[in-house]
Amino acid sequence: MADYGMSSEELEQMYQEVILEASKTPHGKVSFTAGDGQQATIGVDSLSAGESTLSATHEYCVPAQSHQFNPTCGDEVTVRVEISDGTDGKPQHIEHLVWDGQGCSISQASLSIMVDLVDGKTVDEAMELFHAFHKLMESRGAGLDDEAMEEELGDAVVFQGVSRYPMRIKCALLGWEGLKDSMAQALAQMNAKEA
């Protein structure tokens, strides 16, 4: 690799192999829009328009989506989740998780690694991971002092380097915020149905 000066170490700590790789071929990324898959507009919540067309793959699942936007750089993502309602005999879990969006390598890689980590997990487990990842991103480069938690986060611990850069933390959290919000919406729909 070329010499990037004294700062190459910092730079490579931030852009770890896993991140660069995941940002190139992100997992869970699909195209929500018909046609060429390009988002027609940037900075317009075009992707939220498809709300009424959301449908579940199983009748025991409730679908929901969340659109997240970072106005400073235009990173944009819509996360779609299907949560099982428990009638399949298992605890409420993420049955299906996909997203569409565009943004920097940090946001794209974070989404990809998040999908690997939480798809199939129960809602409680996913929320635990959400909080652990939040903690990691608030650690200012120090990481977590909880080894078990770091173990749980798997590949997501590579974002420890990113947590040193306040301007980029939001990039790493964008997808996770979408996950949390879409799960909350799905649960709210379930509660509404029960009531």
Partner: protein, 423 residues
């Protein structure tokens, strides 16, 4: 011959290492660095003559008032405006954004019938038109878009050509007999393109419209004479012209400032205030300077204006032209596209670019690691980015202190970006 290496030495902030590299500052379009003389002027004011201006009769109040008014005159001299007492054409504002909002609010007040007969020339009603361009900074776009919404006026805009230049050639079609206000940028803050404003101003005046110039990106880099340009109003900030933050200036032709109703109300802008009668407001510029002014910063801005004139605006322009030429070599890098004029003609050393396949945040991070400061994002100009089919970009922008080597360092670093991100 000006020694620009010595001029660079007057900026203490530039003498430092960032991430182990000497700092290369190429973000002057966001804010410029300050020469020692400007930094000193602010603290010198506080050390020696700090007092409220235009109030009180003690010695310090007199001295600070004199310094404040001298600073106004220095700034006026930089842009070819009148400064004689009773003829002042420079209003102190809290920044370019504040100046543009002041103007939009004052025009809105005139539209509500405030300011009497004299202000009727500014009044807007449904069917009238406000014209801007797609190249505008949000600080021009939004105040005038809101003004249109408040008054019922129609909001229109000039389109841009493929290099992002305002289509001045369409002035006769865009500006009509119903157009009352035209607000256009002098230099695009993203494209660096100098707008051919003469045909727009001519057309605006032909139909009786007022012409407002966003001079934020021109005053720091070009010799500007508002009288010669025949603009009616112009707004810009001190912090982009080597002065302090928190201060800007609004130029207005004297007769227009006299006719314009105030936008902000309070202390030091009123002659007579009553409980049961309408107040009588002061003449400009005081009418537009309600409240305590940032005196130390205004004084320092005056020092900055003098400093620029001492270097010589023509010299600054010529020097930055050599930086622009070097920055434009970014366009020769595989996968790099310049968003703005590619020729070094009618443009300044502000060069925005897109690196295919690499998000601006990633580009900026990589560039920063080499100690080079550029801006990444939409630069508060989303419509111009949409014009180029993007949301965000990378922007390098020169200042008087930059060297050709600075630009070369950037070009070299950008040349490595795509390999690092494997595209």
């Amino acid at each position: 011959m000006v020694d620009f290496a010595a001029i660079r030495g007057e900026f203490p902030i530039l003498d430092q290492q960032i991430h182990g590299h000497p700092l290369v500052y190429l973000d002057s379009a966001a804010t410029s660095q300050k020469p020692q003389t400007v930094i000193d002027a602010e603290s010198e004011f506080y050390r020696t003559i700090n007092a409220g201006v235009h109030r009180g009769a003690h010695e310090l109040a007199a001295l600070s008032t004199e310094a404040f008014e001298q600073a106004r005159a220095k700034v006026a001299a930089l842009v070819g405006a009148n400064a004689a007492e009773g003829e002042e054409e420079i209003v102190v504002t809290a920044g370019a954004t504040a100046g543009l909002n002041l103007l939009a609010t004052a025009i809105g007040n005139a539209s509500l019938g405030r300011g009497g007969d004299a202000a009727k020339r500014f009044a807007l009603k449904p069917g009238d038109e406000i014209v801007v361009s797609k190249a505008e900074h949000h600080s021009v776009l939004l105040p005038f878009q809101e003004l249109a919404a408040r008054t019922g006026a129609t909001f229109k805009w000039f389109d841009l050509d493929e290099e992002g230049r305002v289509r001045s050639d369409t002035a006769d079609e865009v500006i009509t007999e119903r157009t009352k206000v035209v607000a256009i940028t002098h230099v695009g803050n993203t494209t660096g393109a100098i707008t051919d404003i003469a045909p727009i101003i001519r057309r605006a005046h032909e139909v009786g419209a007022i012409f407002i110039l966003d001079a934020c990106q021109s005053v720091p880099h070009l010799a500007v004479d508002f009288h010669a340009l025949d603009v009616d109003f112009a707004a810009w900030s001190a912090h982009k012209m080597y002065g302090p933050t928190g201060v800007g200036f609004l130029y207005g032709k004297r007769e227009l400032l006299e006719a314009l109703p105030p936008a902000n109300f309070g202390g030091s802008m009123v002659e007579l205030a009553w409980m049961d009668k309408p107040a009588q407001y002061m003449a400009p510029p005081a009418r537009f300077e309600a409240g305590t002014q940032p005196v130390a910063q205004v004084v320092a801005a005056g020092v900055a204006a003098d400093w620029m004139r001492a270097v010589g605006m023509e010299n600054i322009e010529a020097h930055e032209k050599t930086i622009a030429a070097e920055l434009l070599k970014l366009g020769d890098i595989d996968g790099v596209r310049i968003l703005g004029p590619r020729e070094n003609v009618n443009r300044i050393g502000t060069v925005a670019f897109d690196v295919q396949g690499v998000h601006p945040h990633d580009v900026g991070q990589f560039i920063d690691a080499q100690g080079i400061a550029i801006r990444v994002g939409h630069h508060c100009a989303q419509p111009v980015h949409r014009h180029f089919g993007l949301f965000a970009s990378n922007r390098a922008s020169s200042g008087v202190y930059n060297s050709v080597q600075d630009a070369q360092a950037l070009v070299e670093a950008v040349g490595k970006v795509r390999a690092f991100f494997r595209v």
